[in-house]
Symmetry: C2
Subunit: 214 residues, 2 copies
């Protein structure tokens, strides 16, 4: 069986879990011996080992071209990869690090050891979340999916981040109707099911986390 | 003319400058109006706009397949992308953020506003630099380049980071002979020339920064 070593609240790991789901590729989940290891780590049926988001996506698109996650059309492709990069660098830095890494334990995010939760950091993260999502909201509204009419890595990357933030009740959906509507569509996809069943020991999810109509 | 908007001490921007150099593609450098903008940003001859490392690399490999930066062989390809991801996430997080973002100004790295240099952060960054480079040093020594016998994105990503760190004298080359030998080969490449001419106003580079035999 295919095996994916991942940690629960890491957005890159969630992105690859969603990508495997969209490709209809089943896998056994595994926990790493060390959460600061380079993850996610995929071991395919034939024993091939692929490590990290970039390599795993390249491998999956090459070996399993059905259900493509990167558009063929050059403009849409550039847009999907722009938003993927934006989410994995800028949104990750300004929002996820500040909120997620303050709330989730290091064992579930793989981030470096740090001080106890800092309210000023959380406040900045919340402001950045609203500012950044207001930039992408019109894209979701006008295009259907973030990069165009079809689902792409751009959607999976942002959904991976938002799902982890939503677990901790950190997404003010009522202030973000366009993103909320897009996210309800994302979380209704079969690829999302496993993520919605995630439970961090000692930290139950926010109420709406696994509700499909919210 | 092709135009690249970039900032001096940002490793992702340096990676794309090296990639353009390796592809023998000339460009006019430009500075962004806002250093926290999503960079690098490439405007090609025909006006095509491509933003962010992921999209620009995909675009360059697709439009300019000569001088490939991603190996064809599946094993070497996976290894190049694993090391690219490792450098852009783990090495960036544990080393570059801690050293570079403490020493260079925000206008040249695009990082978020923060407190004055913190010696404890710098100390941790220096320890991580040695620990992380000791993991990749044997690869450079055994293979010639990091992912195999040919230059790949793995080399450009690490060289992009080390060149920025070296500008501030933060790479203890004498403790890292295998990486030092690989880096001397990297900085002798024509693609490196422009980077070695970089000067941050008010912060001259460490002595060995642009010396080719050190």
């Amino acid at each position: 069986m295919r095996r994916l070593t991942h940690i629960l609240m890491s957005p890159p790991c969630r992105l690859i879990r969603l990508a495997l789901g969209e490709k209809r590729l089943a896998y056994d989940p595994a926990a790493p011996d060390d959460p600061q290891k380079h993850l996610p780590l995929l071991v395919d049926m034939d024993g091939t080992v692929v490590v990290g988001v970039w390599a795993i996506i390249d491998y999956l698109e090459g070996m399993h071209p059905e259900h493509p996650l990167v558009p063929e059309d050059p403009v849409e492709r550039g847009e999907a990869l722009r938003l993927l990069d934006w989410t994995m660098t800028k949104f990750h830095e300004e929002v996820a690090r500040r909120l997620l890494f303050e709330k989730a334990s290091r064992a579930h995010t793989g981030h470096l050891l740090r001080q106890p939760p800092n309210m000023e950091t959380i406040r900045q993260g919340r402001a950045s979340l609203l500012a950044n999502l207001s930039v992408v909201a019109p894209l979701a509204e006008q295009r259907g999916f973030l990069a165009g009419r079809n689902l792409s890595l751009a959607d999976l990357a942002l959904a991976a981040h938002l799902s982890a933030l939503d677990y901790y009740g950190e997404v003010p959906w009522s202030e973000l109707p366009a993103i909320g509507e897009w996210y309800v569509r994302m979380k209704s996809r079969p690829s999302f099911r496993m993520l919605l069943n995630d439970r961090v020991p000692g930290q139950p999810p926010a109420l709406q986390y696994s509700e499909l109509d919210f």
